[in-house]
């Protein structure tokens, strides 16, 4: 019996080993695909910057998109922000207490939230909510010929749909991040008060003590890039989605996956750049 199993496992292994030549070939093909994809996204971005400065400007549609991406995400971003601040504080209290450093908690939490956790978590949530929404919406407009219809009726669908959405995410995600940071700090204040009695003014004076204005700027700048990339990937995937409802699902899905990955990559680059300059 045991032997039998082992044999089967061996067989399975044999099946799974593809000749090396084929392996390199397929990995080469997927590498090539990634390369082509990157090139296409870059062209898409170039086109965005070209069209952005060309009149007429679709101001009304832009405001609508700001409302949809910004206002409609407030609740979600607020709740997650509050929980983040609260949990981070509760989790770090015992360790800090061991060193008798409870007084440092507000400062430590504030630095980690504002520099890192706030921007990244908010961007990831928006990649999920806003990015997938844009991917699905533009994807279904594409497969039901609405984009073609816009084009023949004299609108520039790239301007009307893509430029307005990317601009909206680029401007709204930073706003959402600030909102999330503020709520997170409040969550942390609540967390501190679960075990201790710290006044609101004392808590926030500790927070501002630990924050340097210079620290805030890179953290704020990178959120614009997060917003830009979320809009860009969502629009790219939707605008180029394949025919059929399956294509729409794929567009939404890969918009989220790729945008989330890009958020981390941008974050990494941002860290490198800020350490280089400080």
């Amino acid at each position: 019996m045991k032997k039998d199993l082992k044999q089967r496992a061996d067989q399975k292994e044999k099946k799974n080993t593809i000749p090396i030549s084929e392996q390199t070939n397929s990995s080469f093909a997927s590498f090539k695909n990634v390369f082509i994809e990157v090139a296409m996204v870059s062209l898409f971005a170039v086109r965005y910057f070209k069209e952005m400065f060309k009149p007429p400007f679709e101001f009304k549609e832009f405001l609508k998109q700001c409302y949809l991406t910004g206002y409609r995400s407030l609740a979600l971003v607020g709740i997650t922000g509050f929980i983040m601040g609260l949990v981070l504080t509760i989790q770090s209290t015992p360790t800090m207490a061991e060193f008798g450093a409870e007084a440092w908690i507000p400062g430590m939490v504030a630095v980690s939230i504002i520099r890192e956790i706030g921007p990244v978590i908010t961007a990831l949530i928006c990649a999920g909510k806003v990015g997938s929404g844009i991917g699905a919406e533009l994807g279904s407009m594409k497969v039901t010929e609405q984009i073609d219809s816009m084009e023949v009726s004299g609108a520039n669908p790239f301007k009307y749909l893509v430029v307005t959405r990317i601009m909206a995410t680029t401007l709204m995600i930073p706003v959402l991040v600030i909102f999330s940071d503020v709520i997170s700090l409040y969550g942390s204040y609540v967390g501190v008060n679960l075990t201790d009695k710290v006044s609101f003014t004392l808590f926030f004076s500790k927070v501002f003590e630990s924050l340097d204005f210079i620290d805030l700027i890179p953290a704020f700048i990178k959120t614009f890039f997060f917003g830009f990339i979320i809009g860009l990937i969502g629009c790219f995937k939707g605008y180029n989605s394949n025919k059929g409802t399956e294509g729409v699902g794929q567009a939404a899905n890969s918009a989220v996956v790729i945008a989330s990955l890009m958020v981390f990559i941008i974050d990494m680059i941002a860290v490198q750049i800020t350490t280089l300059f400080s």
Partner: protein, 255 residues
């Protein structure tokens, strides 16, 4: 003498709205249009019959340059579509109404916004009063005045089709391209739409290409019928001429 010839030519040119010569179009290995030749004269209703997947939709998308032809020549309003500048292309598109096979209503807009959209794009100076009266007029034409504040998702399939027809008619285009205007509608509505197409031709002096499988619609609307198969047109004539045809494929449409 020469002057006269030139004049004659101009009159002729003005009579021909669309002209295709040896047009080819392939998608990778899929050769959809192999050799398409036809002329569309001013004021006529040309019906195109053909099996599913023979490239009828591709044919009319080439005319508005949503799809670019691979080779051959395609003249629309006496302009060569291959060498059009963006501005010229927009001028041509402004004269063309395109009814998409799927309707293509904008999901995120109400019926009113859908109908206003093409007008706002074409003219910056239009007043709200003018908009309202145009919208009212086309909605009356298709008999759906009470849907004005609904979203497309709240409408039935036939209603959506009629609203998209209204949206195409609202600019009173010189050339109308109907992609299966009656498919999926009940016989009564189909007949109404067919009569509406005929009425539009008379009232606004439009020229039309009508793609359809619906032989009743072809009978009502057509001045001339062409049958497409295997990448090119295989038969041409009036309704009665083609009905008497002994070609198996052609006669199968008339059963």
């Amino acid at each position: 003498m020469e002057n006269r010839e030139a004049e004659n030519k101009e009159v002729n040119d003005n009579k021909i709205i669309v002209e295709m010569k040896n047009v080819k179009k392939s998608f990778n290995q899929n050769h959809v249009l192999k050799d398409v030749n036809f002329q569309l004269n001013r004021g006529e209703n040309l019906v195109v019959l053909g099996k599913s997947g023979t490239g009828k939709s591709v044919l009319i998308k080439c005319i508005v340059k949503l799809i670019e032809i691979d080779s051959g020549s395609l003249m629309v309003f006496n302009k060569d579509t291959l060498t059009l500048k963006e501005k010229e292309l927009n001028e041509i598109r402004a004269k063309i109404g395109f009814l998409f096979q799927s309707g293509a209503l904008y999901d995120s807009m109400t019926v009113r916004e859908n109908l206003e959209f093409p007008i706002r794009r074409r003219s910056k100076t239009v007043t709200q009063d003018e908009l309202d009266s145009s919208v009212k007029e086309v909605l009356e034409n298709v008999g759906l005045e009470d849907t004005i504040d609904k979203m497309p998702s709240e409408l039935s399939g036939g209603m959506r089709k009629r609203i998209s027809l209204a949206r195409t008619l609202i600019l009173k285009p010189e050339l109308m391209l109907y992609d299966e205007p009656t498919t999926g509608l009940d016989p009564i509505t189909s007949q109404e739409i067919s009569e509406l197409i005929l009425e539009v031709q008379k009232k606004y002096k439009t020229t039309s290409i009508i793609i359809t499988h619906d032989i009743k619609c072809a009978k009502i609307t057509s001045n001339r019928i062409m049958v497409i198969d295997g990448g090119g047109f295989i038969a041409e004539g009036t309704y009665d001429e083609l009905k008497a045809s002994d070609n198996e494929l052609v006669s199968s449409f008339f059963k």
